[in-house]
Symmetry: D2
Subunit: 149 residues, 4 copies
C-alpha cells in the first residue's frame, strides 16, 4: 500500500483545512503525523469529553477518526479539491481512558471519486497504548463544486 | 413497534445519565422527547461545531445520534443496568446547516443483551427540517458489571 | 419521501438487469414489488441456503437486501446508467426461519452520484412476518463507464 | 495480536461447523487456513455467482467474509459454544473478477460475549491478487442457548 501524492502541497492543504475546523479546535485536536495516504490526529483527554461512565464518549472517538480518515484520503486528492465523508462505521472495543487519544487513519483504496479508509483510536497513557475503537469509511472527492479543503 | 418499558422509572434514569455526560453538556445537548424505545436530543448549531466548509461536523451528528440511540435502548433496559455502544454506522446525506440539530432515535429490536437501534439527524431552521444523516447501531445492556446509567 | 422516476422505463431496466444476475437466479430471487425508489425481492427458503444452526445464512439475507437496495436506487437513475454497491451494513436481529424471505428496500436519499438506501429482510411463514435483518447502504450511479444495468 | 485458543480442539469445531453449512457448500467454499483468531476461506468463481455486469456479486463476497469472520472469532471461543453474526459492514473496492475468491478474516478484539472481526476479500487469478472488498463486524458467543458450532 505505498501511496504517492499527486499534489506535492498535500500537507499544506491538510493543515489549512484542519485549521478551519472549529470543532476540531474545540476538541483540542492536533496533527501529529502525515504522509501520503496516512494521517494521525491526537487530542488530550479532558473532563469535558466524557460519557456517563467517565470514559471518553464514543462520539469524540468517532469525530477524531472521521477527521483523520478524511484527511488521509485528502492527502491523495488533487489540488483544488474538497473532501467530505460519505459514511463511516465505528466499532467500540473497550472503555476509552487515558491521557490522550490518537486517531490513526490510512487509505485502503484511493479512487477518483471515492476512497475507502480505515482508522483506529488508541487510548494512550505514558508508554501504554490500548486500541479502543476502529472505523471503516468512505470519503468523497469534490471537484468544481465550490468547496475546497 | 409499540415498546413497553419494564422499568417505570426509565425517564428518570435517562435524565440522570445524560446529566453525567460532560461531553453532551459541552455540545449543548438537551433531551426534547422520550418514550419507551424512543429518544430525541437537540443541540443548537454554534460556531464551534463546524468542519472546514462551515457545516456541522459529521462527528457532532454522530455524537448526538449515538447518545440518542443509546438512550432509546436504555429506556427498555431494567433498573440498575448500564448501556454502552457496540457499534454504529453513520451515513451523511447532505451538508448540515441550520439553527439546531435534532437527533431522533428509536429501537428497532430490543434483546436481553443487545439492542438494534436507528437514528436520524435533522437540521432545523424555523419550520424547515432537512434529513442530513442517519445512524444504524447496536447497544449493549450491562448488568452487574459495576456500571449503571 | 415521494420519489419520481426520471426514466419512465425504470421497471423494464430493473427487470432486465435482474435477469442478468446469475447469482440471484441461483438463490431463486423474484421481483415482487417495484415503484420509484422501492423494490421488494422474494426468495424461497431452501435447504441449501442455511448456516450451521439451520437458519438462513446471513450472507443470503445480505445478498437479497443488497440487490433490492441497489435496484431501489436504480429505479431513480437515468436511462443508460449502471448501479454498483459502494458499501452496506447488515444487522442481524434474530434467527431467520420460515417459508420465504422478502427483502424490502427503499431509497433514503437520491443524489446524482450516490444514493443512500435502507432495506429490511422479513422471514415469512403463511401470514406471519418477522423482521430478521436490516441493511443501510450506499449505491453509486455509473454513467458513461461502459456498464449499464 | 497473538491470540491463544482456549479450546485445543478449535480446528475440529470449525471444520464440523462449516460442514453443516449447506449454503457454504452451495457456494463451493473450502477452508484453506486456520489458526487462533484467523480463518481463510476460498471459493472458485463460477458462472452462477455473478451480478449484472458479470462480476462476482457483492453478496457472495459478503457471505464468504461473514463466514470466515465468524469462524475466526469461533476459534477463540470455549468448547460447547456457538457463534452468530451480530452485524457486519462491507465496503466494495473494485469489480471482483478472477479464478477464485479468498476471504481472509482475523479477530481484532476477542471478548467474552462479543468479538470484533475484520476480513478482506481477494480476487485471485494465478499469482495475481487484488483486494476487492473489506468487512468489519461483530460476532457473538452463545453459551447454553441450545446451539453449538
Amino acid at each position: 500500500m505505498p501511496f504517492e501524492a499527486q499534489d506535492p502541497e498535500y500537507e499544506r492543504r491538510v493543515r489549512e483545512s484542519l485549521a478551519k475546523q472549529s470543532y476540531m479546535a474545540k476538541l483540542g485536536v492536533k496533527l501529529v503525523r502525515i504522509s501520503p495516504g496516512e494521517v494521525h490526529l491526537s487530542l488530550p483527554v479532558r473532563d469535558d469529553l466524557l460519557q456517563q461512565h467517565d470514559n471518553v464518549h464514543a462520539g469524540v472517538l468517532a469525530s477524531a477518526m472521521d477527521s483523520a480518515a478524511g484527511y488521509a484520503a485528502f492527502t491523495l486528492m488533487p489540488a483544488g479539491s474538497g473532501v467530505v465523508s460519505v459514511e463511516f462505521k465505528v466499532n467500540l472495543l473497550e472503555p476509552a481512558r487515558g491521557e490522550r487519544i490518537e486517531a490513526r487513519a490510512r487509505v485502503v483504496r484511493s479512487g477518483r471519486t471515492l476512497s475507502s479508509v480505515a482508522a483506529e483510536a488508541w487510548a494512550i497513557t505514558g508508554s501504554d497504548e490500548r486500541l479502543v475503537a476502529t472505523l471503516s469509511g468512505t470519503m468523497m472527492c469534490l471537484v468544481g463544486r465550490g468547496v475546497s479543503g
